[in-house]
Amino acid sequence: MKLECSVEKIKKALSQVNRITGKNLTLPILSSVLIIASKKLFKLRATNLSLGIEIEIPANIEKEGISVIKGDLLNNIFLNIYNDIKVSIEVIKDNLYIKTKNNKIFIKNYPNEDFPTIPIISGESFTIKSTDLIEGIKSVYYSASLSDIKPEISSIYIYPEENNLVFVATDSFRLAEKKIKTKKTEDFTGVIIPFKNTVEILKLFNETEGEIKVCFNKNQISFSHNGIYLTSKLIDGIFPDYKQIIPKNKNTEAITLKQDLLNALKLSNIFADKFNQINLNINPKKNIFELTSKNIDVGENKTKIEANTKGDDININFNHKYLLDCFQSIYQDSVSLQFDQENKPIIIRGARDNSFTYLIMPMNK
């Protein structure tokens, strides 16, 4: 193998690919990156057997070849190469030579026949704007369950509904749902992507623009865009039928400024007990919207917030961390909180925005 390419491009590609290498797995070769030089293209590949990634970068290839290098090692080398524009990479016998204007490095080359291929998906496909995909995932991923006991809910569920693509995640204590408008309706039954993998999708496509091509079959999904190919396994399961638990009645509604509520929550946080429990009291007749938190060791706090309230009185306890989480997905200045009964989930939405719905289960008093 012999080739020449831009340092910046290879730096960026390496940092992306290296994240997906397998850490502490039984097969050590998975912590490596496979580099392929063929025809006009230079490819970097890595996989942890749950995710696989392949990035193509333009290069001037003199001799084709394949090589396997420890991912961390290669990444560290390139992170510390400054002030150079071009790099040449060459394999001579068992060594890999990296040459720039100022540096000359050689590292050990591993045999490549044990490095696995990554699946190429053929199946149903559609395209989605990368900003839409990112927004969808970003709006809900923090609600997914962190435990592996139930793989269906330590995941994000994505399915089409009329003119929307719906993203849902829940850890069974709270639930986030985001609807993203799409140009046309896609017809598929829905996919369940492991939450850990969606974090990587977020990081990888966060700054890209344009359309991402999505392909999937029963077990696997792939995202491709501009020389980047990412594939993830899917969870073969059924996402809970969450629509049934969204309360249909709203007996009480309160609309308040997001910033006010946020400030109040931060103050309450100081006094919250170890269950992060705070109490919310709403009395529309007296126009009261009041947060109380209590901690035997510290003290007690009561904060009143200006709010537009209507409906019945309600007094409800919940985990304030869950409420804080959802503000990252609400872009409006005011938020609306809706209540059915004291033992039914609270619904939180941005004012006049129905695309995002957040549910929190109240706590026992």
Binding site: L25, P116, T170, F173, P240
Partner: protein, 455 residues
């Protein structure tokens, strides 16, 4: 000949010796043989990555080792299949955190999205007694495809008698058969209401063709609660066309309703006749023995023991539908657990007194309304002095029911129904009684009407 498990174990031993340990444990962990079919072995693998790599790298090796054990194997297919859930030895690390937090009630909702069937409804849990044995036998015949004469299959009966259970069990059983035989069948269970909403949506979005195509593609269509079709004219028309198209293609259709199709009000004649041509079977209320069997099977399911005499008493005293029976049983179990001792018969009497059917508190007006609705007659005409034939008949039936089922005195009945003489009422009751002996249809009609009262 070796069975699949032995074959794969032998094969794995060979493979293990020829590749590195790291490679072996990464690629061959969690694999097993799914099945063997005419020389092709299907190997289950945990994900696409493994599938890809086995095909690319180890296929030759696996093939070679297979050949050593048996020479009939010609081909290997790799199938990604769901992993068995690990044993739940993991406990929550921070138990305290979870005690006060209530969970969103997400659990028990595991209805399959594609066919909409609830996997809880199975034939195994379906109790057969004289009240439903015919329906059960027909359902079995449909599943086993003994004949196509049971198409369409129409089952009717009061609420809470197991209609939904039966028809969903048919769907689930056919689905199981699909797995065995490999013949793919598209099954769909839905309620009529869903069908109607679907139709309205498709009209709104200008997608009626998609709608038609979707429903015509099903091999087995199960539709629940057909009675709600009354007055939905466009839905009736759509169902009519769907019915014809599925019938022509010999696709199985299964319907349930709380009434005989002839008595579904405002049902178009052509649909009525089509339903009537189907295999119509009713489910009645369970007899004492069946109720006993149902209670016992419920107790077995939840692993709970109740003394014989209590079980007996429950079966004897709750004569309504099965849902009520379950409800009473649950409250008895709950109380037993709470008090941590067996309950006495007297305590149980107190517990279930609300579930034992008292004579209904229905006013005469209500009865007139139900019966006149049933015969699609204007309620007020009952009270008028008209002698139109259909009204006279309805009025007589009302009188008969008031006398027989609600023990109201003849003069009072006469007075309430527009000032009739008590002898008129006596005559009416006798006439209906006589007609009942001769007319099966009238018998059925009365059963239907009585079922309406008990809702």
């Amino acid at each position: 000949m070796l069975n699949n498990k032995q074959l794969w174990d032998n094969c794995l031993v060979e493979v293990e010796s020829s590749i590195s340990k790291a490679n072996f444990s990464t690629w061959f962990k969690n694999t097993h043989i799914l099945k063997e079919e005419s020389g092709t072995i299907f190997i289950s693998v945990p994900n696409e990555f493994v599938k890809d790599w086995l095909i690319n790298k180890y296929h030759k090796l696996i093939m070679k080792t297979f050949r050593e054990f048996s020479d009939y194997i010609k081909n290997i297919e790799y199938v990604v299949s769901k992993q068995e859930i690990k044993t739940r030895s993991l406990s929550f690390p921070n138990k305290n955190e979870f005690t006060t937090n209530r969970e969103l009630p997400l659990q028990d909702l595991y209805i399959n999205k594609e066919d909409n069937l609830n996997p809880r409804y199975l034939f195994d849990s379906f109790i057969v007694g004289s009240f439903n044995e015919l329906a059960y036998a027909a359902a079995q015949a449909i599943v086993n495809k003994k004949s196509i004469t049971y198409n369409p299959f129409f089952v009717y009966g009061g609420t809470g008698l197991g209609k939904t259970h039966l028809i969903q069990a048919i769907g689930n059983k056919i689905k199981d058969k699909v797995k065995e035989t490999g013949v793919v069948k598209k099954i769909k269970y839905l309620t009529l209401e869903k069908f109607s909403i679907d139709y309205v949506n498709s009209v709104q979005n200008n997608k009626t063709n998609d709608f038609k195509e979707k429903y015509r593609g099903y091999d087995v269509l199960i539709m629940d609660d057909i009675q709600f079709i009354s007055k939905k004219e466009k839905t009736q028309e759509e169902l009519f066309h769907l019915f014809n198209s599925l019938y022509e293609d010999n696709k199985q259709m299964i319907f349930s309703s709380d009434k005989h199709p002839n008595y579904i009000p405002n049902l178009e004649e052509r649909l009525k006749s089509r339903f009537s041509a189907s295999m119509i079977i009713d489910i009645t209320t369970p007899d004492y023995e069946s109720r006993l069997a149902i209670i016992k099977s419920k107790l077995r399911d939840i692993n709970f023991l109740l003394p014989e005499d209590i079980v007996d008493y429950l079966a004897f005293s709750i004569q309504g539908n099965i849902r009520e029976l379950e409800g009473s049983l649950n409250s008895v179990i709950c109380q037993t657990q709470l008090k941590n001792r067996d309950l006495s018969i007297n305590e149980i009497k107190g517990l279930i007194k609300n579930n034992i059917k008292p004579k209904k508190n229905i006013s005469i007006k209500d009865i007139v309304k139900v019966v006149s609705d049933f015969y699609s007659i204007n309620e007020s005409s009952i009270y008028e002095k008209t002698r139109r034939k259909e009204i006279v008949k309805t009025r007589q039936i009302i009188m008969y029911l008031l006398r027989e089922d609600f023990s109201i005195s003849y003069p009072l009945i006469g007075q309430k129904l527009g000032g009739k003489d008590h002898t008129t009422v006596i005559h009416s009751c006798l006439k209906i009684k006589k007609d009942l002996k001769n007319s099966n249809l009238l018998n059925q009609e009365l059963d239907q009407i009585r079922a309406l009262f008990s809702i």
